[in-house]
């Protein structure tokens, strides 16, 4: 009897200790990766990073890649935010119980985890090739194609958050507005979206955090550029692709620049996801 008890007790302690160890392993990897990025990145953070272009390689910086990334990320948001918010609204307000709504919601969740390199291939086929054929090659790979690929990464994030956030808005608000004779579109735009604004914004920021770090979809769409360009139809440099190229290089000076870039991206992305967490937790408090 007591032997059984001791065995159960020991099993319990062993399991609990192992679960603590598992948590420590997870945290250790986080600290390891962040520490390495911080350590290598900070020593390489210099003003030339922001003033010189990648054409000068180890004598240069990342300015064109930073500008390229900012432009493409912003354009991607401009594409996927309106579409995503409207699509999410459709799911929450017009199709919350219809079969079409259920299947779109389901597929959206799948798109959320779809392999990004395949989305890059898709954009290559539907944008890069046709543009190149139409313009006889003077426009082919472009920042625009890159932002469409990034937008496909961000889209499902926004759809899902918008859908969830609008569902959190209490039904009484809808009923009150409708009883005043407001048409549905006005209700949606002026009442519901206002009520869920911070939640929807959270989704947009989450999407930005998600797409800002993506490399694979840009490889066959934005290509790369060693010089500064702001024209959306030019081949465009980006931070992740430049980091990828510099990491592949044997030159330690380029590794240093890559680490500095990695630090900038990681800080940007992590700051965004922490910010959304703060916004989101406030949201939860106000509606639960």
């Amino acid at each position: 009897m007591s032997a059984i008890y001791t065995r159960r007790h020991l099993t319990n302690i062993f399991a609990l200790v192992m679960s603590g160890v598992a948590t420590l392993i997870g945290l250790a990897f986080l600290v390891w990766i962040l520490w390495i990025t911080l350590q290598n990145g900070i020593t390489a953070l210099t003003p030339t990073l922001f003033t010189k272009i990648t054409a000068y390689a180890d004598q240069g910086g990342l300015s064109n890649a930073i500008v390229g990334s900012l432009i493409m990320d912003l354009m991607a948001l401009l594409i996927c935010a309106p579409i995503g918010v409207l699509a999410g609204t459709y799911l929450a307000e017009y199709a919350s119980s219809s079969r079409l709504g259920a299947s779109i919601r389901f597929l959206n969740d799948i798109l959320l985890s779809a392999p990004s390199i395949v989305l890059g291939l898709f954009v290559y086929v539907i944008i890069v090739l046709p543009m190149s054929n139409l313009t006889n090659g003077s426009i082919s790979f472009s920042g625009f194609a890159g932002s469409v690929a990034l937008a496909l990464i961000g889209l499902p994030v926004i759809v899902r958050t918008t859908d969830e956030m609008l569902q959190l808005v209490p039904g009484t608000l809808r009923e009150a507005a409708l009883s005043l004779g407001i048409p549905q579109w006005k209700l949606t735009l002026q009442v519901l979206m206002r009520a869920a604004f911070s939640g929807i914004l959270t989704g947009v920021l989450l999407a930005l955090a998600r797409l800002a770090g993506e490399t694979a979809p840009l490889l066959f769409t934005a290509f790369g550029n060693n010089f500064m360009t702001v024209h959306p139809l030019d081949k465009m440099a980006s931070m992740p692709v430049t980091i990828y190229q510099y990491t592949n290089d044997p030159n330690p000076a380029l590794h240093a620049i890559a680490w500095a870039g990695a630090l900038l991206i990681t800080l940007f992305v992590l700051a965004l996801s922490l910010l959304t967490r703060i916004l989101f937790s406030r949201k939860k408090v106000s509606y639960e």
């Binding site: 309106p82 090659g137 003077s138 082919s140 790979f141 290509f223 081949k235």
Partner: protein
């Protein structure tokens, strides 16, 4: 709250404005884009930076491998391709392309073995082929030891590094191995990408150099500048004449001197396993590939101007990276080729 609601509509206006400016503007890209060979990347990127400062014209060259250069120029997505594998006459005719050399350089076996300094290891073609076939697997193999009686080589496993992308460097390297090893010729053959019997793949000359540097007891093949600039050990080779030669501008030049450019249609000529006592056995040319009837005349004009400038003013930077600049007679021949073959 009302003001914050208006944000989406303002974003919408901004989006429309940007879209309008994008498609309304004549899509006149000021950049000339070239892509391909990582073999020439060090020198082209140097030329491009200097040329941009001089003329303000941007030559955006992306090092994606010779295979990539050929594929992208055929697809018409870049203004010029660069490849260390020449295209065959029928291929050029089919796509309406022309090609001309831009620089000559050497491919060296590069290694990372503790205690063995750069330029001390000696290899010959058959041994190199057997290493890449996976038949020689340790550094103290009798075949290597016989060539290096004075070196103390470890018993460690040899890690073979090759290219993972389509590469002109691979093409010249496998062409050389096919010439010196019948077994390589039948089992593997030559090409920008082959079915490698052993080893790991690095992307570009960059990736191969990085792996050699990182992995102890590895061997690979890279353009000479990559070995020198990154302080990677390189081997001497026994050439076709049976002499051991060191890789340097002189031995690359000696191999280049054996080339008979006058009789090479479309400059299609390989220099691997060149005869001559001082010739480096894996010397290679890199070519520029462009449309004979330009798709974008203005861009093509700038590209020609760039290469003309490079032949005249880029020699020193080529030499400083241990490439062999093209001889004057060849440059003249290229300029004749331009005016006879290209419709400007």
């Amino acid at each position: 709250m009302l003001t914050s609601f208006k944000l989406p509509s303002r974003l919408g206006t901004l989006a429309i404005a940007i879209a309008a400016s994008m498609f309304g503007m004549t899509a006149q890209a000021t950049d000339i884009t070239g892509a391909g060979s990582s073999f020439v990347y060090p020198v082209i990127s140097k030329w491009s930076a200097a040329y941009a400062e001089k003329t303000g014209n941007h030559i955006n060259y992306q090092s994606i491998g010779s295979g990539g250069g050929i594929a992208q120029i055929k697809a018409g997505t870049v203004d010029f391709g660069a490849s260390d594998m020449p295209l065959k006459a029928e291929d050029l005719a089919k796509f309406g392309l022309g090609q001309f050399p831009d620089v000559i350089g050497g491919i060296v076996p590069a290694f990372n073995v503790a205690g063995v300094a750069a330029g001390t290891l000696v290899l010959d073609g058959p041994t190199l082929a057997d290493i890449y076939l996976g038949k020689i697997t340790t550094w103290n193999d009798p075949a290597i030891a016989k060539l290096n009686p004075s070196l103390h080589l470890p018993s460690s496993h040899i890690t073979v590094v090759h290219r993972s992308d389509g590469s002109g460097t691979s093409f010249n390297f496998t062409d050389y191995l096919s010439k010196v090893s019948p077994e390589w010729k039948t089992k593997v053959g030559e090409g920008t990408a082959v079915q490698w019997p052993a080893g790991i793949g690095g992307k570009g000359n960059e990736g191969v150099s990085a792996y050699i540097k990182q992995i102890p007891n590895s061997i690979g093949y890279v353009e000479y500048a990559y070995a020198l600039q990154n302080k990677i050990g390189y081997a001497k080779m026994k050439n076709a004449a049976g002499k051991v030669v060191e890789p340097n501008t002189a031995s690359f030049q000696a191999a280049a001197n054996t080339a008979d450019w006058k009789n090479a249609k479309d400059f299609n000529l390989l220099m691997t396993n060149a005869p001559g006592a001082t010739a480096w056995p894996i010397t290679a040319t890199s070519w520029v590939i462009m449309y004979k009837t330009p798709k974008n005349a203005a861009n093509t004009k700038v590209a020609f101007d760039f290469f003309k400038w490079a032949y005249e003013h880029g020699q020193d930077s080529a030499r400083s990276l241990d490439y062999v600049p093209l001889p004057d007679s060849l440059v003249q021949q290229i300029e004749t080729y331009w005016s006879s073959e290209y419709k400007m």
